[in-house]
Symmetry: C2
DNA sequence: GAGTGGTCTAGACCACTGT
DNA sequence: CAGTGGTCTAGACCACTCC
Protein backbone atom coordinates (compact mmCIF):
# COMPACT_ATOMS: atom_id res chain seq x y z
CA UNK A 1 0.00 0.00 0.00
CA UNK A 2 2.82 2.33 0.86
CA UNK A 3 4.17 3.53 -2.46
CA UNK A 4 7.67 3.55 -0.98
CA UNK A 5 9.01 -0.02 -0.96
CA UNK A 6 11.49 0.76 1.80
CA UNK A 7 12.86 3.99 3.20
CA UNK A 8 14.01 6.04 0.25
CA UNK A 9 17.41 7.64 0.71
CA UNK A 10 16.94 11.35 1.27
CA UNK A 11 18.49 13.64 -1.34
CA UNK A 12 22.18 14.23 -0.72
CA UNK A 13 21.85 17.97 -0.17
CA UNK A 14 19.21 17.40 2.52
CA UNK A 15 21.42 14.89 4.30
CA UNK A 16 24.38 17.27 4.24
CA UNK A 17 22.26 20.17 5.47
CA UNK A 18 20.74 18.05 8.22
CA UNK A 19 24.15 16.89 9.38
CA UNK A 20 25.42 20.45 9.63
CA UNK A 21 22.23 21.61 11.32
CA UNK A 22 22.60 18.93 13.99
CA UNK A 23 26.21 19.95 14.57
CA UNK A 24 25.03 23.50 15.13
CA UNK A 25 22.22 22.43 17.46
CA UNK A 26 24.59 20.24 19.47
CA UNK A 27 26.91 23.20 19.85
CA UNK A 28 29.78 21.57 18.00
CA UNK A 29 29.65 24.54 15.67
CA UNK A 30 29.35 27.72 17.67
CA UNK A 31 27.86 30.97 16.36
CA UNK A 32 30.45 32.69 14.23
CA UNK A 33 32.40 29.49 13.54
CA UNK A 34 33.34 28.67 9.98
CA UNK A 35 31.80 25.73 8.21
CA UNK A 36 33.82 23.38 6.01
CA UNK A 37 34.37 24.71 2.51
CA UNK A 38 32.22 23.48 -0.34
CA UNK A 39 35.14 21.47 -1.68
CA UNK A 40 35.74 19.80 1.69
CA UNK A 41 32.07 18.90 2.02
CA UNK A 42 32.02 17.54 -1.53
CA UNK A 43 35.02 15.34 -0.76
CA UNK A 44 33.63 14.16 2.57
CA UNK A 45 30.22 13.25 1.13
CA UNK A 46 31.50 12.06 -2.24
CA UNK A 47 29.28 14.38 -4.20
CA UNK A 48 29.65 17.34 -6.50
CA UNK A 49 30.22 20.82 -5.24
CA UNK A 50 26.85 21.83 -6.64
CA UNK A 51 25.19 19.50 -4.17
CA UNK A 52 27.11 20.98 -1.26
CA UNK A 53 26.11 24.40 -2.58
CA UNK A 54 22.48 23.33 -2.43
CA UNK A 55 22.93 22.20 1.17
CA UNK A 56 24.50 25.51 2.14
CA UNK A 57 21.76 27.40 0.29
CA UNK A 58 19.10 25.50 2.26
CA UNK A 59 20.72 26.33 5.59
CA UNK A 60 20.88 29.96 4.51
CA UNK A 61 17.19 29.85 3.63
CA UNK A 62 16.51 28.52 7.12
CA UNK A 63 18.44 31.36 8.69
CA UNK A 64 21.04 29.12 10.32
CA UNK A 65 24.14 30.31 8.50
CA UNK A 66 25.44 33.22 6.50
CA UNK A 67 27.77 33.04 3.55
CA UNK A 68 29.39 35.25 1.00
CA UNK A 69 31.94 35.14 -1.72
CA UNK A 70 35.51 34.48 -0.85
CA UNK A 71 35.03 33.18 2.67
CA UNK A 72 33.74 30.04 4.26
CA UNK A 73 30.10 30.04 5.41
CA UNK A 74 29.71 30.81 9.11
CA UNK A 75 27.15 29.89 11.74
CA UNK A 76 24.79 32.83 12.08
CA UNK A 77 25.23 35.12 15.08
CA UNK A 78 21.86 36.08 16.51
CA UNK A 79 21.64 39.86 16.94
CA UNK A 80 20.29 41.17 20.21
CA UNK A 81 16.52 41.44 19.99
CA UNK A 82 14.79 44.76 20.46
CA UNK A 83 11.65 44.41 22.54
CA UNK A 84 8.54 46.28 21.50
CA UNK A 85 5.89 46.02 24.19
CA UNK A 86 2.17 46.63 23.95
CA UNK A 87 2.48 48.61 27.20
CA UNK A 88 3.72 51.39 24.94
CA UNK A 89 0.10 51.96 23.90
CA UNK A 90 -0.84 53.13 27.40
CA UNK A 91 2.37 55.12 27.71
CA UNK A 92 1.62 57.01 24.52
CA UNK A 93 -1.92 57.68 25.65
CA UNK A 94 -0.75 59.03 29.01
CA UNK A 95 1.69 61.27 27.18
CA UNK A 96 -1.14 63.30 25.73
CA UNK A 97 -1.81 64.77 29.15
CA UNK A 98 1.79 65.91 29.54
CA UNK A 99 3.16 69.31 28.51
CA UNK A 100 4.44 69.88 25.01
CA UNK A 101 7.97 69.99 26.43
CA UNK A 102 7.51 66.49 27.81
CA UNK A 103 5.99 65.28 24.59
CA UNK A 104 8.72 66.72 22.40
CA UNK A 105 10.65 64.15 20.50
CA UNK A 106 8.20 61.35 21.17
CA UNK A 107 6.55 61.41 17.75
CA UNK A 108 5.79 58.40 15.65
CA UNK A 109 9.41 58.55 14.56
CA UNK A 110 11.23 57.77 17.73
CA UNK A 111 8.74 55.32 19.13
CA UNK A 112 9.50 52.76 16.50
CA UNK A 113 12.86 51.64 17.74
CA UNK A 114 14.52 51.51 21.09
CA UNK A 115 17.99 52.44 19.97
CA UNK A 116 20.24 55.29 18.91
CA UNK A 117 17.84 58.04 17.91
CA UNK A 118 20.73 60.15 16.69
CA UNK A 119 21.73 57.66 14.00
CA UNK A 120 18.34 57.53 12.32
CA UNK A 121 17.25 59.38 9.26
CA UNK A 122 13.52 59.70 9.53
CA UNK A 123 11.13 60.36 6.67
CA UNK A 124 7.37 60.69 6.62
CA UNK A 125 5.09 61.10 3.65
CA UNK A 126 1.38 61.90 3.60
CA UNK A 127 -1.13 61.33 0.86
CA UNK A 128 -4.81 60.59 0.52
CA UNK A 129 -6.28 57.49 -1.07
CA UNK A 130 -9.66 55.89 -1.51
CA UNK A 131 -10.47 53.48 1.31
CA UNK A 132 -11.04 50.58 -1.08
CA UNK A 133 -10.70 47.24 0.65
CA UNK A 134 -10.07 48.87 4.02
CA UNK A 135 -13.50 50.51 4.01
CA UNK A 136 -15.03 47.48 5.67
CA UNK A 137 -12.75 47.69 8.70
CA UNK A 138 -13.44 51.40 9.17
CA UNK A 139 -17.11 51.04 8.43
CA UNK A 140 -17.03 53.68 5.70
CA UNK A 141 -17.60 53.71 1.95
CA UNK A 142 -14.87 52.44 -0.39
CA UNK A 143 -14.83 55.85 -2.07
CA UNK A 144 -14.27 57.73 1.17
CA UNK A 145 -10.81 59.19 1.60
CA UNK A 146 -8.13 57.88 3.94
CA UNK A 147 -5.10 59.85 5.03
CA UNK A 148 -2.15 57.55 4.40
CA UNK A 149 1.01 58.30 6.34
CA UNK A 150 4.18 56.38 5.48
CA UNK A 151 6.98 56.43 8.04
CA UNK A 152 10.45 55.08 7.54
CA UNK A 153 13.64 55.30 9.55
CA UNK A 154 16.95 54.42 7.98
CA UNK A 155 20.49 54.17 9.23
CA UNK A 156 22.26 56.89 7.24
CA UNK A 157 25.62 55.15 7.64
CA UNK A 158 24.64 51.70 6.43
CA UNK A 159 21.75 52.86 4.27
CA UNK A 160 19.55 50.20 5.81
CA UNK A 161 15.95 50.42 6.94
CA UNK A 162 15.45 50.47 10.69
CA UNK A 163 11.70 50.78 10.91
CA UNK A 164 8.76 51.09 8.59
CA UNK A 165 5.06 51.64 9.06
CA UNK A 166 2.01 52.88 7.21
CA UNK A 167 -0.93 54.45 8.99
CA UNK A 168 -4.46 54.98 7.66
CA UNK A 169 -7.11 57.30 9.10
CA UNK A 170 -10.43 58.44 7.59
CA UNK A 171 -9.99 62.03 6.46
CA UNK A 172 -13.52 62.82 7.61
CA UNK A 173 -12.53 62.07 11.21
CA UNK A 174 -9.61 64.46 11.40
CA UNK A 175 -10.09 67.20 8.81
CA UNK A 176 -11.47 69.57 11.43
CA UNK A 177 -7.82 70.14 12.35
CA UNK A 178 -6.07 70.82 9.01
CA UNK A 179 -2.68 70.59 10.71
CA UNK A 180 -3.18 66.84 10.90
CA UNK A 181 -3.29 66.59 7.11
CA UNK A 182 0.05 68.29 6.56
CA UNK A 183 3.20 66.20 6.64
CA UNK A 184 5.29 69.28 7.37
CA UNK A 185 4.07 69.04 10.97
CA UNK A 186 5.97 65.77 11.45
CA UNK A 187 7.35 64.73 13.77
CA UNK A 188 4.33 65.59 15.87
CA UNK A 189 5.17 65.83 19.58
CA UNK A 190 3.34 63.04 21.33
CA UNK A 191 2.50 60.98 18.27
CA UNK A 192 -0.79 59.78 16.88
CA UNK A 193 -2.61 59.61 20.22
CA UNK A 194 -2.06 63.34 20.69
CA UNK A 195 -2.95 64.15 17.08
CA UNK A 196 -6.28 62.41 17.52
CA UNK A 197 -6.88 64.19 20.81
CA UNK A 198 -6.90 67.52 18.96
CA UNK A 199 -10.06 66.46 17.16
CA UNK A 200 -11.66 65.04 20.28
CA UNK A 201 -10.87 61.38 19.73
CA UNK A 202 -9.73 59.16 22.60
CA UNK A 203 -8.45 55.66 21.84
CA UNK A 204 -9.87 53.14 24.30
CA UNK A 205 -8.74 49.85 22.79
CA UNK A 206 -5.89 48.70 20.57
CA UNK A 207 -5.91 45.38 18.72
CA UNK A 208 -2.63 44.09 17.32
CA UNK A 209 -2.91 41.47 14.59
CA UNK A 210 0.34 39.57 14.16
CA UNK A 211 1.57 37.18 11.51
CA UNK A 212 4.79 36.65 9.56
CA UNK A 213 5.99 36.22 6.01
CA UNK A 214 9.21 35.94 4.05
CA UNK A 215 10.56 39.19 2.59
CA UNK A 216 10.83 39.72 -1.11
CA UNK A 217 14.30 40.14 -2.56
CA UNK A 218 14.10 43.93 -2.45
CA UNK A 219 12.71 43.92 1.09
CA UNK A 220 15.62 41.76 2.21
CA UNK A 221 17.99 44.28 0.64
CA UNK A 222 16.19 47.28 2.13
CA UNK A 223 16.27 45.89 5.65
CA UNK A 224 19.70 44.34 5.31
CA UNK A 225 18.17 40.96 6.11
CA UNK A 226 20.26 37.89 5.62
CA UNK A 227 18.57 34.94 4.02
CA UNK A 228 16.08 32.92 5.98
CA UNK A 229 14.90 35.72 8.26
CA UNK A 230 11.11 36.32 8.22
CA UNK A 231 9.39 39.65 8.61
CA UNK A 232 6.88 39.85 11.44
CA UNK A 233 3.87 41.79 10.24
CA UNK A 234 1.76 43.67 12.77
CA UNK A 235 -1.46 45.51 11.99
CA UNK A 236 -2.47 47.80 14.84
CA UNK A 237 -6.15 48.77 14.96
CA UNK A 238 -7.02 51.68 17.24
CA UNK A 239 -10.61 51.90 18.45
CA UNK A 240 -12.30 54.73 20.32
CA UNK A 241 -14.84 54.60 23.12
CA UNK A 242 -17.73 54.13 20.72
CA UNK A 243 -16.16 51.05 19.17
CA UNK A 244 -15.29 53.02 16.05
CA UNK A 245 -12.10 52.07 14.20
CA UNK A 246 -10.08 55.27 14.06
CA UNK A 247 -6.67 54.25 12.78
CA UNK A 248 -5.03 51.27 11.17
CA UNK A 249 -1.26 51.02 11.24
CA UNK A 250 0.74 48.35 9.41
CA UNK A 251 4.34 47.68 10.38
CA UNK A 252 7.04 45.13 9.57
CA UNK A 253 9.65 43.93 12.01
CA UNK A 254 12.69 41.79 11.14
CA UNK A 255 12.28 38.58 13.13
CA UNK A 256 15.97 38.23 13.93
CA UNK A 257 16.16 41.47 15.87
CA UNK A 258 12.65 42.06 17.17
CA UNK A 259 10.46 40.55 19.85
CA UNK A 260 6.91 41.79 20.26
CA UNK A 261 5.54 41.66 23.80
CA UNK A 262 1.86 41.77 24.59
CA UNK A 263 0.69 42.21 28.16
CA UNK A 264 -2.79 41.03 29.11
CA UNK A 265 -3.99 41.98 32.60
CA UNK A 266 -6.70 39.63 33.88
CA UNK A 267 -9.65 40.47 36.10
CA UNK A 268 -9.46 39.01 39.59
CA UNK A 269 -11.80 36.24 40.66
CA UNK A 270 -14.45 37.44 43.12
CA UNK A 271 -13.30 37.00 46.73
CA UNK A 272 -16.44 35.07 47.58
CA UNK A 273 -16.14 32.48 44.84
CA UNK A 274 -16.71 28.86 45.77
CA UNK A 275 -13.58 26.75 45.88
CA UNK A 276 -13.09 25.09 42.48
CA UNK A 277 -13.83 21.38 42.50
CA UNK A 278 -10.85 19.09 42.63
CA UNK A 279 -10.13 16.80 39.75
CA UNK A 280 -8.24 13.54 39.48
CA UNK A 281 -6.95 11.59 42.46
CA UNK B 1 34.57 55.77 -4.94
CA UNK B 2 31.63 53.54 -5.67
CA UNK B 3 33.13 50.14 -6.41
CA UNK B 4 30.43 49.56 -8.99
CA UNK B 5 31.31 51.46 -12.17
CA UNK B 6 27.70 51.48 -13.32
CA UNK B 7 24.64 49.53 -12.30
CA UNK B 8 25.61 45.86 -12.36
CA UNK B 9 23.12 43.63 -14.11
CA UNK B 10 21.30 41.59 -11.49
CA UNK B 11 21.76 37.81 -11.69
CA UNK B 12 19.46 36.22 -14.22
CA UNK B 13 17.56 34.09 -11.70
CA UNK B 14 16.77 37.16 -9.62
CA UNK B 15 15.47 39.02 -12.66
CA UNK B 16 13.27 36.10 -13.63
CA UNK B 17 11.95 35.71 -10.08
CA UNK B 18 11.29 39.42 -9.80
CA UNK B 19 9.41 39.46 -13.08
CA UNK B 20 7.16 36.62 -11.98
CA UNK B 21 6.68 38.17 -8.55
CA UNK B 22 5.52 41.42 -10.13
CA UNK B 23 3.08 39.55 -12.35
CA UNK B 24 1.65 37.92 -9.24
CA UNK B 25 1.42 41.22 -7.36
CA UNK B 26 -0.26 42.90 -10.30
CA UNK B 27 -2.80 40.11 -10.40
CA UNK B 28 -1.85 38.93 -13.86
CA UNK B 29 -1.19 35.56 -12.30
CA UNK B 30 -4.01 34.66 -9.94
CA UNK B 31 -3.68 32.27 -6.99
CA UNK B 32 -3.80 28.73 -8.30
CA UNK B 33 -2.73 29.74 -11.81
CA UNK B 34 0.06 27.79 -13.47
CA UNK B 35 3.39 29.45 -14.16
CA UNK B 36 5.27 28.92 -17.42
CA UNK B 37 7.29 25.72 -17.48
CA UNK B 38 11.00 25.82 -16.79
CA UNK B 39 11.70 25.19 -20.47
CA UNK B 40 9.44 28.05 -21.54
CA UNK B 41 11.11 30.41 -19.10
CA UNK B 42 14.54 29.31 -20.26
CA UNK B 43 13.59 30.01 -23.85
CA UNK B 44 11.99 33.35 -23.05
CA UNK B 45 14.98 34.57 -21.03
CA UNK B 46 17.63 32.90 -23.15
CA UNK B 47 19.18 31.10 -20.24
CA UNK B 48 19.65 27.57 -19.05
CA UNK B 49 16.92 25.63 -17.33
CA UNK B 50 19.02 25.53 -14.18
CA UNK B 51 18.75 29.30 -13.93
CA UNK B 52 14.98 29.15 -14.28
CA UNK B 53 15.00 26.44 -11.63
CA UNK B 54 16.87 28.80 -9.32
CA UNK B 55 14.28 31.50 -9.94
CA UNK B 56 11.43 29.11 -9.13
CA UNK B 57 13.29 27.87 -6.04
CA UNK B 58 13.64 31.46 -4.80
CA UNK B 59 9.94 32.17 -5.24
CA UNK B 60 9.20 28.96 -3.34
CA UNK B 61 11.52 30.07 -0.54
CA UNK B 62 9.59 33.34 -0.39
CA UNK B 63 6.31 31.49 -0.09
CA UNK B 64 4.84 32.88 -3.30
CA UNK B 65 4.47 29.69 -5.31
CA UNK B 66 4.30 25.95 -4.87
CA UNK B 67 5.73 23.36 -7.20
CA UNK B 68 6.15 19.65 -7.52
CA UNK B 69 7.31 17.08 -9.95
CA UNK B 70 5.40 16.53 -13.11
CA UNK B 71 3.31 19.67 -13.07
CA UNK B 72 3.93 23.33 -13.66
CA UNK B 73 4.52 25.54 -10.59
CA UNK B 74 1.41 27.34 -9.41
CA UNK B 75 0.77 30.59 -7.59
CA UNK B 76 0.28 29.79 -3.92
CA UNK B 77 -3.28 29.80 -2.58
CA UNK B 78 -3.40 31.42 0.85
CA UNK B 79 -5.23 29.20 3.32
CA UNK B 80 -7.82 30.84 5.54
CA UNK B 81 -6.18 32.12 8.68
CA UNK B 82 -7.22 30.87 12.09
CA UNK B 83 -7.38 33.70 14.59
CA UNK B 84 -6.03 33.14 18.06
CA UNK B 85 -6.92 36.05 20.30
CA UNK B 86 -5.41 37.08 23.62
CA UNK B 87 -8.96 37.52 24.89
CA UNK B 88 -8.88 33.76 25.31
CA UNK B 89 -6.76 34.28 28.42
CA UNK B 90 -9.63 35.98 30.24
CA UNK B 91 -12.10 33.43 28.90
CA UNK B 92 -10.04 30.57 30.28
CA UNK B 93 -9.73 32.29 33.62
CA UNK B 94 -13.47 32.86 33.85
CA UNK B 95 -14.01 29.22 33.03
CA UNK B 96 -12.50 28.17 36.34
CA UNK B 97 -15.58 29.47 38.12
CA UNK B 98 -17.90 27.38 35.96
CA UNK B 99 -19.11 23.89 36.75
CA UNK B 100 -17.11 20.86 35.70
CA UNK B 101 -19.76 20.13 33.08
CA UNK B 102 -19.20 23.53 31.53
CA UNK B 103 -15.47 23.09 31.70
CA UNK B 104 -15.50 19.65 30.11
CA UNK B 105 -13.72 19.49 26.81
CA UNK B 106 -12.00 22.84 27.18
CA UNK B 107 -8.61 21.48 28.15
CA UNK B 108 -5.33 22.59 26.74
CA UNK B 109 -6.04 20.29 23.82
CA UNK B 110 -9.00 21.91 22.23
CA UNK B 111 -8.04 25.49 22.93
CA UNK B 112 -5.16 25.35 20.53
CA UNK B 113 -7.10 25.37 17.30
CA UNK B 114 -10.41 26.75 16.26
CA UNK B 115 -11.43 23.89 13.99
CA UNK B 116 -12.78 20.37 13.84
CA UNK B 117 -12.14 18.94 17.29
CA UNK B 118 -13.26 15.55 16.09
CA UNK B 119 -10.52 15.24 13.51
CA UNK B 120 -7.66 15.76 15.93
CA UNK B 121 -5.53 13.15 17.58
CA UNK B 122 -4.26 14.69 20.75
CA UNK B 123 -1.23 13.60 22.73
CA UNK B 124 0.27 14.94 25.93
CA UNK B 125 3.44 13.89 27.66
CA UNK B 126 4.71 14.93 31.10
CA UNK B 127 8.20 14.77 32.47
CA UNK B 128 10.35 16.66 34.92
CA UNK B 129 13.57 18.45 34.08
CA UNK B 130 16.04 20.74 35.79
CA UNK B 131 15.15 24.40 35.31
CA UNK B 132 18.54 25.19 33.78
CA UNK B 133 18.44 28.35 31.72
CA UNK B 134 14.78 28.97 32.53
CA UNK B 135 15.55 29.31 36.25
CA UNK B 136 16.17 33.02 35.86
CA UNK B 137 12.69 33.68 34.51
CA UNK B 138 11.02 31.72 37.29
CA UNK B 139 13.33 33.12 39.95
CA UNK B 140 14.36 29.64 41.14
CA UNK B 141 17.59 27.67 41.20
CA UNK B 142 18.84 25.98 38.01
CA UNK B 143 18.72 22.64 39.82
CA UNK B 144 15.08 23.03 40.84
CA UNK B 145 12.65 20.82 39.00
CA UNK B 146 10.20 21.94 36.34
CA UNK B 147 7.19 19.96 35.19
CA UNK B 148 7.42 19.88 31.41
CA UNK B 149 4.22 19.16 29.54
CA UNK B 150 4.37 18.60 25.78
CA UNK B 151 1.10 18.86 23.87
CA UNK B 152 0.60 18.00 20.25
CA UNK B 153 -2.46 17.65 18.05
CA UNK B 154 -2.25 15.90 14.71
CA UNK B 155 -4.64 15.31 11.89
CA UNK B 156 -4.99 11.51 11.87
CA UNK B 157 -6.00 11.52 8.21
CA UNK B 158 -3.15 13.57 6.80
CA UNK B 159 -0.69 12.74 9.57
CA UNK B 160 0.16 16.42 9.91
CA UNK B 161 0.71 18.47 13.03
CA UNK B 162 -2.11 20.87 13.87
CA UNK B 163 -0.81 22.40 17.07
CA UNK B 164 2.16 22.09 19.34
CA UNK B 165 3.13 23.57 22.66
CA UNK B 166 5.37 22.94 25.64
CA UNK B 167 4.55 24.18 29.10
CA UNK B 168 6.88 24.55 32.08
CA UNK B 169 5.88 24.94 35.74
CA UNK B 170 8.01 24.71 38.90
CA UNK B 171 7.20 21.39 40.56
CA UNK B 172 7.45 23.05 43.98
CA UNK B 173 4.49 25.28 43.13
CA UNK B 174 2.07 22.52 42.25
CA UNK B 175 3.17 19.31 43.98
CA UNK B 176 0.66 19.84 46.77
CA UNK B 177 -1.87 18.43 44.30
CA UNK B 178 -0.23 15.25 42.93
CA UNK B 179 -2.93 14.94 40.29
CA UNK B 180 -1.29 17.84 38.47
CA UNK B 181 1.90 15.82 37.99
CA UNK B 182 0.19 12.91 36.27
CA UNK B 183 -0.31 13.03 32.51
CA UNK B 184 -3.10 10.46 32.77
CA UNK B 185 -5.35 13.27 33.99
CA UNK B 186 -5.15 14.96 30.59
CA UNK B 187 -7.15 16.47 29.13
CA UNK B 188 -7.92 18.41 32.27
CA UNK B 189 -11.33 20.08 32.10
CA UNK B 190 -10.75 23.81 32.13
CA UNK B 191 -7.08 23.77 31.26
CA UNK B 192 -4.07 25.17 33.03
CA UNK B 193 -5.91 28.03 34.72
CA UNK B 194 -8.08 25.54 36.56
CA UNK B 195 -5.19 23.24 37.35
CA UNK B 196 -3.37 26.10 39.03
CA UNK B 197 -6.49 27.09 40.92
CA UNK B 198 -6.42 23.74 42.71
CA UNK B 199 -3.19 24.76 44.40
CA UNK B 200 -4.39 28.25 45.18
CA UNK B 201 -2.73 30.08 42.31
CA UNK B 202 -4.57 32.82 40.40
CA UNK B 203 -3.01 34.20 37.22
CA UNK B 204 -3.29 37.98 37.12
CA UNK B 205 -1.18 38.85 34.11
CA UNK B 206 -0.14 37.11 30.91
CA UNK B 207 2.76 38.27 28.75
CA UNK B 208 3.02 36.93 25.21
CA UNK B 209 6.43 37.21 23.58
CA UNK B 210 6.20 36.85 19.82
CA UNK B 211 8.80 36.39 17.13
CA UNK B 212 9.20 34.21 14.03
CA UNK B 213 11.71 31.89 12.42
CA UNK B 214 12.01 29.54 9.46
CA UNK B 215 11.21 25.89 10.14
CA UNK B 216 13.84 23.21 9.83
CA UNK B 217 13.32 20.59 7.14
CA UNK B 218 11.73 18.15 9.57
CA UNK B 219 9.50 20.83 11.08
CA UNK B 220 8.28 21.74 7.61
CA UNK B 221 7.44 18.07 7.04
CA UNK B 222 5.76 17.67 10.43
CA UNK B 223 3.50 20.66 9.94
CA UNK B 224 2.96 20.06 6.25
CA UNK B 225 4.39 23.49 5.53
CA UNK B 226 5.21 24.41 1.99
CA UNK B 227 8.44 26.22 1.39
CA UNK B 228 8.81 29.83 2.42
CA UNK B 229 6.30 29.76 5.29
CA UNK B 230 7.70 30.95 8.63
CA UNK B 231 6.71 29.64 12.04
CA UNK B 232 5.45 32.26 14.47
CA UNK B 233 6.87 31.51 17.89
CA UNK B 234 4.94 32.63 20.97
CA UNK B 235 6.17 32.31 24.55
CA UNK B 236 3.37 32.84 27.03
CA UNK B 237 4.42 33.84 30.55
CA UNK B 238 1.73 33.57 33.23
CA UNK B 239 2.21 35.68 36.33
CA UNK B 240 0.24 35.58 39.58
CA UNK B 241 -0.86 38.43 41.81
CA UNK B 242 2.48 38.55 43.58
CA UNK B 243 4.38 39.06 40.33
CA UNK B 244 5.65 35.49 40.46
CA UNK B 245 6.16 33.68 37.16
CA UNK B 246 4.05 30.55 37.44
CA UNK B 247 4.06 29.03 33.97
CA UNK B 248 5.91 29.41 30.72
CA UNK B 249 4.35 28.00 27.58
CA UNK B 250 6.08 27.87 24.19
CA UNK B 251 4.06 27.37 21.04
CA UNK B 252 4.64 27.46 17.28
CA UNK B 253 2.08 28.62 14.76
CA UNK B 254 2.38 28.27 10.96
CA UNK B 255 2.33 31.80 9.59
CA UNK B 256 0.26 30.93 6.54
CA UNK B 257 -2.76 29.80 8.55
CA UNK B 258 -2.53 31.68 11.82
CA UNK B 259 -3.07 35.23 12.96
CA UNK B 260 -2.42 36.16 16.57
CA UNK B 261 -4.61 38.93 17.96
CA UNK B 262 -3.70 40.91 21.05
CA UNK B 263 -6.23 43.23 22.63
CA UNK B 264 -5.00 46.08 24.82
CA UNK B 265 -7.68 48.03 26.71
CA UNK B 266 -6.54 51.55 27.62
CA UNK B 267 -7.39 53.56 30.71
CA UNK B 268 -9.64 56.55 30.09
CA UNK B 269 -8.33 60.08 30.42
CA UNK B 270 -9.66 61.83 33.52
CA UNK B 271 -12.85 63.78 32.74
CA UNK B 272 -11.35 66.94 34.22
CA UNK B 273 -8.21 66.92 32.13
CA UNK B 274 -7.13 70.15 30.55
CA UNK B 275 -7.61 70.39 26.83
CA UNK B 276 -4.42 69.29 25.08
CA UNK B 277 -2.54 72.15 23.49
CA UNK B 278 -2.95 72.54 19.75
CA UNK B 279 0.00 72.08 17.48
CA UNK B 280 0.79 73.39 14.05
CA UNK B 281 -1.46 75.85 12.25
C1' DG C 1 47.94 35.07 -6.11
C1' DA C 2 45.51 31.22 -4.16
C1' DG C 3 41.32 29.89 -2.55
C1' DT C 4 36.64 30.77 -1.72
C1' DG C 5 31.67 30.99 -2.76
C1' DG C 6 28.18 32.96 -6.44
C1' DT C 7 26.47 32.42 -10.94
C1' DC C 8 25.62 29.90 -15.00
C1' DT C 9 25.69 26.28 -18.56
C1' DA C 10 24.90 21.64 -20.69
C1' DG C 11 23.45 17.48 -19.96
C1' DA C 12 21.94 13.29 -17.47
C1' DC C 13 18.69 10.41 -14.82
C1' DC C 14 14.61 9.89 -12.11
C1' DA C 15 9.79 10.57 -10.08
C1' DC C 16 5.72 12.16 -10.98
C1' DT C 17 1.69 14.20 -13.67
C1' DG C 18 -1.18 14.26 -17.18
C1' DT C 19 -3.56 12.13 -21.31
C1' DC D 1 3.49 7.71 -23.11
C1' DA D 2 5.33 12.46 -23.40
C1' DG D 3 6.28 16.23 -20.61
C1' DT D 4 7.26 18.13 -16.27
C1' DG D 5 10.06 19.43 -12.32
C1' DG D 6 13.64 17.43 -8.78
C1' DT D 7 18.19 15.90 -8.24
C1' DC D 8 22.88 15.63 -9.49
C1' DT D 9 27.22 16.01 -12.09
C1' DA D 10 31.26 18.34 -14.39
C1' DG D 11 33.03 22.28 -15.59
C1' DA D 12 33.44 27.26 -16.53
C1' DC D 13 33.92 32.18 -15.26
C1' DC D 14 33.68 35.80 -11.96
C1' DA D 15 33.86 38.58 -7.48
C1' DC D 16 35.55 38.59 -3.36
C1' DT D 17 38.64 37.58 0.90
C1' DC D 18 42.69 36.58 2.86
C1' DC D 19 47.47 36.09 2.96
Amino acid sequence: MDPRPTAVQAPIHLRIADDIRMQIERGELEPGASLPTLAELAARWSCSMNSTRAAIALLKAQGLITSGRGKAPTVRIQPRKVIRSSERHQVEKDLVLKSEADRAGIGEAETNLGISIDNQRFTSRYDQIAAGEMAGIFGINPNDLLLRRCYEATDPMAGLRLSWSVSYMPVALIESNPALLDERNEPWPGGTMHQLSTVGIEIMRVVDEVTARMPTTVEAQTWGLSNGIPLVFCRRISIDGGGRVVEISDADYPADRTELHFVTPLKAWPKSRRKPSQHGL
